[in-house]
Symmetry: C2
Subunit: 200 residues, 2 copies
């Protein structure tokens, strides 16, 4: 059950999928996974989504790398997932918390410049001040220069894939720091190579 299947301690997780809008989507996904170093995270894939868990920096590093390797093909690709920290529950994968902080995929993907558009939403759980936590992290996004505007239920970011992921990571980490071991989740839909964008 959901309440028995979350993480303990400060383990961060993301349940996501990368959707290449192309007939050869299997090849693109498998290629992206092959190019990504996943050795510092716990990872499990089923027929609906993939789950990555571990230290915050490695979860974001790995998720970003999989998306970048898929998007650099030029195909319209969307990353859609939910990041989570502080969920009460089990501890499977906690061994990955002892990894050092060096990001395994940073160098390989930092050279890829990919325009992206994203919608993200923060959900700080069990917190009467959650709307303020959200507003504060919109300010974080504004400082990064990626914040475009609010839309119903979400905030829109535009920019290079690295700037967008850096914004998401900082907003998520800062929101989780507002309370000791707070349970915070963040949804993010990140789109690259969309024909709708090109048409603008």
């Amino acid at each position: 059950m959901q309440e028995l299947s979350c993480g303990t301690s400060n383990i961060v997780g993301v349940r996501f999928a990368v959707y290449p809008m192309a007939d050869d989507f299997v090849k693109i996904i498998k290629g992206a996974l092959k190019e990504t170093d996943t050795s510092k995270v716990w990872m499990e894939t089923d027929d609906v989504t993939t789950c990555i868990r571990g230290r915050s920096e490695h979860v974001f590093d790995t998720a970003k790398a999989i998306f970048v390797h898929a998007a650099k093909t030029g195909t319209h690709v969307v990353f859609n997932g939910t990041f989570s920290v502080g969920c009460p529950g089990d501890s499977e994968g906690d061994s990955y918390m002892s990894e050092d902080s060096h990001r395994l995929n940073e160098q390989a993907v930092s050279g890829e410049k990919i325009d992206t558009a994203a919608h993200f939403s923060l959900y700080p759980m069990n917190n009467p001040d959650y709307m303020q936590v959200i507003a504060d992290q919109v300010e974080t996004a504004e400082k990064h220069g990626t914040f475009t505007k609010g839309v119903h239920y979400a905030s829109r970011l535009d920019g290079d894939v690295s700037d967008v992921f850096t914004t998401l990571e900082e907003a998520f980490v800062r929101a989780s720091e507002t309370k000791n071991r707070a349970h915070v989740t963040m949804t993010a839909a990140i789109s690259a190579n969309s024909p709708s964008t090109k048409a603008k």
Copy 2:
């Protein structure tokens, strides 16, 4: 900003996208939208996602219809989105709350039998008992016969698309009824025609 762009009253919304994993994804999406009667909901699409808002039953009816019309093509299609109710904020679209409860798309899609697999998560906001609310709605899913198991951060459903959407709608509505005008969100990733499923 996110906190100024949510709904008031009991208006329900969903921000989602339908991802056809095919070269002709634009044709599939446009075809699905054309076949869906959206006249009882407020709807806005940009290059990342689509937002639908209105009465709960019409939001679920419309979202399901768009997904079914895309998935009935046989293409591997995924619905990924977040439902929301009770978010403090503006009231744009409230006029749609006066529609009657007759579902405009039910008849057209009820004949389509499509096997689906889904991951969903409930996020009851500002509620110290939120884990219990989640556990109660896992029981709702079990009663529908669609609940398969818990996975990290989510619950898995399997079944015909109508049974899965009915489960999601009931879990969402019941979770929102636990507190007066509670703010509840629910993420859902629903997959049809996946080659990974067929390979099992």
